[in-house]
Symmetry: C2
Subunit: 221 residues, 2 copies
DNA sequence: CTTATAAATGAACATTCGTTTCTTTTCCAC
DNA sequence: GTGGAAAAGAAACGAATGTTCATTTATAAG
């Protein structure tokens, strides 16, 4: 009764992952019950266990799947030799990838604590691998003298925090398009580690320029 | 009723909040039971309800208390007129305040979704008020031509995301001191909205001197 | 002291939790 | 068609959930 139209084989397993992803992202792992997921999928709670070993397995698979996909997608594009270009490529990739997968990102950065130790280590290893890519870019840039990054590990984390934060507020159809966001972040990241000094107003209050044209900006608003 | 002066009177209520804060931060609101909190306080579960109306009230009080304290602490210090100096003051304050209260920060940024609608609105209003301060600084800086912020609302969020991220990894006694972290972030934030162009260069009015030696960052790890 | 009251206990309430088990239904190769 | 495997339904398991309540203990004022 109530059979699906097509063959239902992998269909349920897929919508299970999708439902769990959305619910975990929205309410958090601990606040989501297997019964909620079952209702969302349109199935009885017990039936879920034909496709997944446990609730914890579900979370682990989602997170490892996301991180693996992240690494794969990043490696699928060529990384420019030039550090500045590489940084821009990284930034644009990160923003675009994360905007498209806000739910998965949210979970991956938020539910680390919900993972049992062994699963945590597996995900954490992937996360550090990704972070290492950015750190490497910053180190190369600093060595080449084209970037200012007094502490690449900290800078890498700071940048990733900034970029990932986009998932907290960006909504499709808002004031800005994804491309505009991408441009703004790319600009900010490039500047944040620019080899040119910042305008240190603290020690130079006389710093105000005579006057300039409107803030020249490469990113249209 | 309003008696409460005794020795152990407010003691339990206080350690209750402390215990809840740590547990919520560590495991998440939904994953923490009143029984866990009670055990941490050293009391039976039912006794908690002499000091708090419900688990949800506990979360709301923690979050509103934190945000209120944040606003109060910020307003307690003078905000420089000069936009660049104000930005530095904001950055240093934010990093310092958040490093000292990693647990509360974590909860406030993480458990918004665990709040019931009415409580959510109350906290969100405080959050936007704080965000508005930074946005105002960026707008003033851009208007004065000393900052490059094509979209102050986005830039404000990006910066706050970056700064708040410090609570995810900073641990006292690590490789860097809190002051060093503070310096690094201050430098990055100042650069990220610097009126001077990034390395790839675009329009540069009133060009910058060639001296790149005044790297104002005082931290070397 | 007595007395009022705040706080803690210990047990219980009705729900909900993740998961298991058994049975029935659906699907696909033959 | 038949047989067997995979998936779903139905019901239940023990444990844990937030919370209440009557009772006892501690505390401070009069």
């Amino acid at each position: 009764m109530a059979r699906r139209i097509g063959s239902s084989g992998a269909q349920t397993a897929d919508s299970l992952a999708k439902a769990a992803l959305r619910l975990f992202a929205r309410h958090g792992y601990a606040a989501v019950s297997m019964r909620m997921i079952a209702r969302e999928v349109g199935v009885q709670p017990g039936a879920l266990y034909n496709h997944v070993g446990s609730k914890q397995d579900l979370l682990r698979d989602l997170m490892i799947g996301h991180m693996t996909e992240l690494m794969k997608a990043f490696r699928a594009q060529p990384l420019p030799e030039d550090p500045a270009a590489a940084l821009e490529a990284f930034t644009r990739f990160h923003v675009r990838f994360h905007i498209d997968r806000a739910d998965a990102v949210f979970i991956s950065y938020m539910e680390l604590r919900s993972l049992e130790p062994e699963n945590f280590r597996a995900v954490e290893r992937l996360r550090q691998e990704y972070e290492g890519i950015l750190r490497g870019i910053l180190e190369r840039g600093a060595r080449a003298g084209v970037m200012h990054a007094p502490d690449p590990p900290v800078a890498a984390r700071a940048i990733i925090s900034m970029l990932t934060g986009v998932t907290h507020w960006f909504r499709e159809g808002g004031r800005l398009t994804a491309r505009q966001i991408e441009d703004i972040y790319t600009d900010m990241v490039a500047r944040s580690v620019s080899a040119r000094p910042a305008a240190d107003g603290a020690s130079a209050p006389d710093d105000t320029p005579k006057d300039t044209e409107r803030t020249a900006c490469s990113t249209q608003a």
